[in-house]
Symmetry: C2
Subunit: 393 residues, 2 copies
Amino acid sequence: MKYADRTESMKASEIRELLKLTEDTDIISFGGGMPSPDAFPIKIIEKIVKKVLEKNGTQALQYGPTEGITPLREALIKRMGKTRGIKCNLNQMIITTGSQQVLDLVPKILINPGDCIAVECPTYVGALTAFNCYQPDYIPVHMDENGMKTDELEEKIKANKAVKFIYTIPIFQNPSGATLSLERKRHLLEIANAYDILILEDEAYSELEYSKVRLPSLKSMDKNEKVIYTHTLSKVLSPGFRLGWLIANEEIARKMAIAKQGVDLCTNMLVQFIAEEYIKSGCIDKQIPKIRKMYKRKRDIMLEALERHFPDGSCWNKPEGGMFIWVSLPEKIDTKEMFLDAIKAKVAYVNGSAFCIDGCSRNCMRLNFSNTDDNKIEEGIRRLAKIIKERLK
Amino acid sequence: MKYADRTESMKASEIRELLKLTEDTDIISFGGGMPSPDAFPIKIIEKIVKKVLEKNGTQALQYGPTEGITPLREALIKRMGKTRGIKCNLNQMIITTGSQQVLDLVPKILINPGDCIAVECPTYVGALTAFNCYQPDYIPVHMDENGMKTDELEEKIKANKAVKFIYTIPIFQNPSGATLSLERKRHLLEIANAYDILILEDEAYSELEYSKVRLPSLKSMDKNEKVIYTHTLSKVLSPGFRLGWLIANEEIARKMAIAKQGVDLCTNMLVQFIAEEYIKSGCIDKQIPKIRKMYKRKRDIMLEALERHFPDGSCWNKPEGGMFIWVSLPEKIDTKEMFLDAIKAKVAYVNGSAFCIDGCSRNCMRLNFSNTDDNKIEEGIRRLAKIIKERLK
């Protein structure tokens, strides 16, 4: 069978493959990136669905506009103004099949094979999966506790050929948990303007805030339409709904809508109507504090357990939000190589190098705290600490 | 703004643009390709959703496997065996975000720019929209009342460079309504085997059968795994659910699952659970006869109205199923050019050339009968006949 050249670039997500090992067992998994099922407002959704089917049943089951239904787009525009300081009109707002679809559509309209994308290192693996199929070159830009090192970005841009866009998760980043500082946000926009480069800003985790740190979105600071913005309802309603959106300048938004036509015609209509009601009724504003409280508690349990059990020479951040803690172990440890030991010890994580386009972070691991029962977190960390300590002997 | 080369190949669907003219007015539209809202089992869905949320709520709202949930795949495998004679295993069956997603994923894994796809002429425009973004060359193969002219296909394949795949809608085709004869099905498979070409078989309309004509699917006759098969629940449950599936050999199915990971991670989980229950409970088998009866009646009303009003020199097929009648008018008429007259006369259709990669069928039109109230069909046909007759004066 002769496949397209791009098919060579497509790889099954390493994470998904590893995590298959953790299914249907008594493994305590800090591996996946999933919300807690306790965060799903099932009863509320049940009521809303009933109302939607009674009031808008035929529309909710019919084909709809590629751009998404207008009332949901209006509700999201209002919300984005209020929560993220973003001003945009209807022509700039498109509902997508998860924010994952945005990560596919942006390179689809922008990237020829060999074009350059700058990505954080580490970064969200699903973004790399989406980008890879357009056969780009990558510029990895490393992170610290203040997010992407924009000085490094600028140096690399100067030394390299034209970069088409910069992908960033500036708040409670997956996997590092880091948040881009205001100073670096300004620098990043300066770079985008100076070198005429687009930014793809992914704020998937911005609602999961456990201390008052929230900084303005890049998009709200963007005076020259350099930012393509994406967000999702996966963390505050349901990931199974596959509901995200993008905000971009009108020309780019139009191109992405045309590309979306060929991909899936329109996003699921039933859940668009559910989401509209969930936002307009104010249910979302009652649910988010509950989710924050739950995840903050889980984060604190994990941080305490790390403090108690992990060996000297390991360190981790204290994320102000999101779903992940990023742990660096002594250089001697290779977390990928250690993974099977962990599975044997009935605990799972994702190795750091899985998130890194340049293969760095070999001694790091990502721990998810949102999707483990409170009373299992410490035991999982204890198991992990034990195998690490054995390796350090 | 410098876009990717492929973005040049992406065009907004001509049909969608024209049909925007028909919104929010008293126009009788035979233009769209939508099911009747009367075909949606809203009450049944209401009951099923309640059950799903109570029984499988957390799963239905969580991320799920890229390939789709196992119980739905099993239910569809069983159904495909019973209704279409197709045998396959779980590794060959993937749930997709509408069958439209299959039309995107197949060229995604197979087509390099300049590779060749053979398409029926006329064919489904949404397929061309999906294919175009992979920058293929096309071989158009013309149709008659027995579907694609396979002799023409073979001649063109002999004369051309390698064809990567042949796209066919072999039953109640959109837009022509034609059904590929058994003899030609055999010939098509012979060609695929002889020249080592894949077939993409799209049976979206196979359930909408108004006389006993059903022929075996190509996939059921396919001994050498040449056929990638796709089908959808859009015509028998809800198009707004965006639920389709593909059946292919294991290697191709695996490649498509990997490609799907980057595109949307997984298909909407809530509607997968709804669909599983809709099929397993037998509701689908009660609903389909109702839909058939309704659409057959609409087809008959339209056929009678055409007979009564359309001028000599026009002709049309009597489709045994599906949602469309294909009308050829006297050569003098250019249906694209006539479209604005039709809008003025408060009636709409889609011009034939919109479906044709070689711009043929300029004197043809596609009439949709599924989505117009019974009592408006004749009036719409009368309006159309009037403007045609004026042009023929």
